[in-house]
Amino acid sequence: MEKDNQEIYIQRFNFRRRLVHWIHTAAFFVLLGTGIIYTTPALSHLAESGIPGTLHRIFAVVFILVPFIYLILDPKSFKELVKESLKIHRNDIGFHLRMPFYILGRTEGIPPQGKMNAGHKLHHILMGILYLFLVISGLALWFGVGFMGPPMFSLMGKTHIIAVFVIVITTLGHVYFTLVYGALPSMISGKVSSTYLKMEHRRWWDEEIAPTVKDKTSK
């Protein structure tokens, strides 16, 4: 796996983990696209066919099933994801304090990050919370028709759309950092370069990857 003399590539995510990521992404964007039709006056005539509403419900089922699909396909990675996301390290504070610089493409001053950086952790925790809000309000809007009455309907509608707003902003940040720091390969081929790791996930590199790499090269 060598290239440019010292550049080596490390497997970061396995195939099943990437598959779950893209199922989640596909469901998310179909839900967003069909949902936006309801909120945008210039698009709302598209809802008349009834097709966006039906697609929204079909992909809502996929979205709801994502954690279960993950758990069935790759329980080990799922457990790792949950554990790592909830394990707060003191370097995480430094990461968030340097956020304005990180947004501008500068990593200097950010304390070394593990396999998951503090941003990923926040993203995953928010995803978990928003999942609950979206599923509860979405299912209420779906199956609660005729049972809610105006106050509950209004509450569920507001909950749904505010959760959508937070998830949209979170996803926007997620996609933005992926593009700025060239992180897409980790979800496509699953492999990342040692340069990328040394810059973005230094703690992971130093503590777990570098020793194994050295072992291999010394052999």
Binding site: A42, S49, F147, G157, V164, T195
Partner: protein
């Protein structure tokens, strides 16, 4: 051309919306509630004999499927000298929550100020069903998988029921005339029957004006302003949160989209520098 104007006014709406709910509430309060050519229905519950002709006429004129209906008449015997007869259908709110809730304008305010419904535009989302404080619209939750064959049972304000009523208990006409008719009939009722609590219902907030033999609670009717309250709770969602969120999301995307190019340049520079320094 048209679209840019639309977008601009939409953005403005979003900004105004962020400005605050209070403002929009004031605007609403200043609006004259009833339009000049405003029509209204009169339901005289004392003349009504619960014969069911209005229900049957509605079903026939509107081609409603078997077992579907949009008018539900009922009757209860009480100690009064008259029966308590209730007409459950669209109450024709002056401030209709269903119209605000509907994303496609399938439910709309017609030129006569009454509520219209166009089933070819209906997406069967069910929003109007839960928005209505009077539980008028009804639909099956399974309708979503029936694509074009959706059916929400709701009044289209066609007026056939009023035409059919053999007892002159139901009228469709201009609102001001309907109200004077209601007042003179109430006087007659009071002079004819010992009904001290007979009253007019809906004068403040409905275009279905009732003549009641007793208090509204006896008919299962909510206190007045129920409709306006339902509409105002939707106002925050539909007219403040929605456009505000849409505008903010667009803004965030635009800002990050432009910052992206600077960030990418910075990142490449840093990458080069760190490599030269031998740090990565």
């Amino acid at each position: 051309m048209k679209r840019t104007i639309h977008r601009r006014s939409f953005l403005k709406q979003g900004i105004a919306a962020c400005g605050g709910l209070l403002l929009s509430k004031n605007v609403l309060a200043e609006q004259p509630l009833a339009l000049p050519g405003q029509s209204a229905f009169l339901f005289d519950s004392i003349r009504c004999t619960n014969c069911g002709i209005c229900e049957r006429t509605c079903r026939r004129v509107n081609g409603l499927p078997e077992k579907h209906n949009v008018i539900f008449m009922s009757q209860q015997a009480v100690d009064n000298p008259v029966h308590i007869i209730t007409r459950r259908t669209c109450m024709q709110c002056l401030q209709p929550a269903c119209v605000r809730a509907c994303p496609t304008e399938a439910t709309s305010l017609g030129p006569n100020g009454l509520i219209g419904y166009d089933d070819t535009k209906c997406a069967a989302c069910g929003y109007c069903v839960d928005a209505c404080p009077f539980q008028h619209p009804r639909m099956s939750r399974l309708a979503y998988f029936d694509l074009r064959n959706v059916w929400v049972n709701r009044c289209t304000s066609c007026g056939a029921c009023a035409q059919a009523c053999p007892e002159s208990a139901l009228f469709l006409g201009f609102r001001n005339e309907i109200i004077s008719l209601a007042r003179s009939r109430l006087e007659q009722v009071k002079s004819r029957y010992p009904l001290p609590d007979a009253q007019i219902y809906g004068e403040q907030d409905l275009n279905l004006i009732w003549i009641l033999a007793d208090h509204p609670e006896v008919y299962g009717l909510p206190p007045s302003r129920a409709a306006a309250m339902a509409d105002e709770s939707l106002l925050l969602w539909k007219s403040v949160v929605r456009p505000g969120i849409l505008a903010l999301s667009g803004l965030a995307t635009a800002v990050l989209g432009s910052v992206y190019f600077f960030a990418l340049r910075n990142h490449k520079k840093e990458l080069k520098r760190l490599k030269e320094e031998g740090k990565i």
